[in-house]
Symmetry: none
Subunit: 200 residues, 4 copies
DNA sequence: AATGAATGAGAATTCATTCAT
DNA sequence: CATGAATGAATTCTCATTCAT
């Protein structure tokens, strides 16, 4: 009585796909794309090498599908949840937490992606879209959190700066160099935005 | 008439070493460390493969020596030259220009280094030292540029934020995603620092 | 109203078989037997891979069945149609046209067959039978066209020579090297046969 | 005191090259190009796989070098040695023997070449040149052997026919189908040429 | 009969490194 | 110091064939 849903694949097949992508995610993140052998992905996923290439005809397809299926370019569903009205700094910190760039898969993927951005053009494109999405959402948060309207230039500069801090933070974390502090940046940017307004 | 005293190596040998490192720099930057074959480095340097391994017994030694000889962890000789007294924003922008992360070999090397930081621990260590040096020099610049003494926390947060922007900028440039604006960040941070002071 | 009696297979099944063999013919001809993947045959035929192996348990079975069903070893039904009494040369040219080695599927198959003759013994056997059949039919044509009885040796030599020309012509066509001229060979052989007779 | 000749390669290296080409010749001839694994060539040559690819970067380079170094497109040095003045048939038979298409490496190579002519364009080109060279040399032989001047059309047709017979003969031999007789063809063509002359 | 996922042996090629000369 | 041939393990990818459903 249950309809076949929208899947053409066997449950088994879907599971295999998922396990392969899980394994690829973990290994790419740990060792990098180039340094990860497809055989290692297959082993980690518990499938024979041939099956990996049945699902992903070339190695780069693994990365491609990782991006397409697991790393949406639009990083957030709604902005409302993180906004603390009247407190720009707190809103930015909440945004950073909500983005979850520091933890779990998301981080892992983004890092992989940064590393391969140069070598694989399509990956670079994805990274550019991701960055643009982050800037856009940050601008929204700034607008919603500010009690006064923000100048478009300041708003954009603040958003870009914050995104740079967030991405650099994620990037730095992987080799233990995460010295940057999100809170400090948020506080200074909030101050700078109001100072800018005042100056006008 | 006497040969140069500061060299233990023959001029030829020194020249070969230099050509190899030049070639390695260019190729690592373009293709990444993993994707660059030692044979490609030898070919680009115009030396036989055997000679390359005579000078650098393993591939990672190439990277190691690149760091040791060409990428000083202390990024600047003097701070005075970039400081615009009384204008924090202008000083930061001048600092960025002086660092020269955007151009020439320096950039190239740093990028390579970022990419391999995770995979090769010693490279990660170098990157950490570089970041610490950048933060320290930025703090110095902030202190020298500010007309009023800065709170240590604010100063450090501002320095870290600015370094994050600078590194993210360099990092993003390589795949054409360089949206960040140094000037905007400098302006907002300057504003934020004074706003913070006032608030105290 | 009754289903066709000469078929043991369902119409569908017969259709699938035919489509598979059609696809195999085309691909083997274009790329060679070894270089054609069974999956490519299945795709070209529009059938799932499993079904292909249901009908033809191994890859070589495809070739075997191609020979058995589509490349009769006796190349001609009747000889009368091509004979021009009294004109050996014209008869040979007509024979060549009738054989149709230069065009359509027949050519395609024969070429495949030549290529694999060495590697697959049973294919070689088929090629030998085909050649023998061609020689036999050519001898018949020579006999029927000649106004005088031909010596058996000359007749056989002429037939073999003509068959060699015809096969080489077909063989050469596939890589654009078809320089041989059927008409010239026919004319010279006709002349040679009469010259031989006179000398006796 | 002996000059280094014209070799830049080590004697060893030259030997390795030769052994690899020998092995490739034998295996390509026996099994075909596509069906011969590079590992099989290396094993037969007694060298590690890596060394094979050091000398011949890709598999097709093996075939390319085989053609360039061992299968001259001009098949004969001088024509005089095979000509029997006044006896066209005997001259053709001698030509065939001199060409040596039936025996040794030459045969082997030509067969390989025929098989791959379609799939690998450059090989096809070589085959075309070879055929043209054979026709040209055969025409020379016919001219030198004939006591009377031959019409250009007849001469060319006879040459093409003879070359077709010779090539088909070589081609057929590999799967035991060598029924064609060179002598018979030579005799009939000789007769045909004179018959043609008389008729004019 | 039909299906397409699963399997694993093997293909071509790459590459860091060694070593005899 | 210099050289480039030699080495073989590892890599990405292919493919005929099987099999559970």
């Amino acid at each position: 009585m249950t309809p076949p849903l929208t899947r053409r694949r066997t449950p088994d097949s879907a599971d295999v796909r998922r396990r392969i992508l899980d394994a690829a995610t973990a290994l790419f993140a740990r060792d990098g794309f180039d340094a990860t052998a497809t055989s290692a992905v297959a082993r980690a996923a518990g499938v024979p090498k041939g099956l990996l290439f049945y699902h992903f005809p070339t190695k780069i397809d693994l990365l491609r599908n990782l991006l397409a299926e697991r790393l949406p370019a639009s990083p957030l569903c709604g902005v409302a949840s993180v906004v603390v009205p009247g407190d720009i700094a707190a809103s930015l910190v909440a945004l950073h937490a909500e983005l979850g760039l520091d933890q779990h898969q998301s981080l892992v993927l983004r890092i992989v992606v940064f590393r391969e951005a140069q070598t694989h053009p399509e990956v670079g494109e994805h990274v550019r879209r991701l960055r643009a999405g982050l800037v856009a959402v940050t601008e929204e948060v700034l607008d919603a959190a500010s009690v006064r309207p923000l100048g478009p230039e300041d708003r954009r500069s603040a958003a870009r700066t914050f995104v740079a801090v967030v991405l650099d933070h994620a990037n730095a974390e992987r080799f233990g160099g995460a010295e940057s502090d999100i809170e400090g940046a948020a506080r200074l940017l909030a101050g700078g935005l109001y100072a800018g307004q005042r100056a006008r």
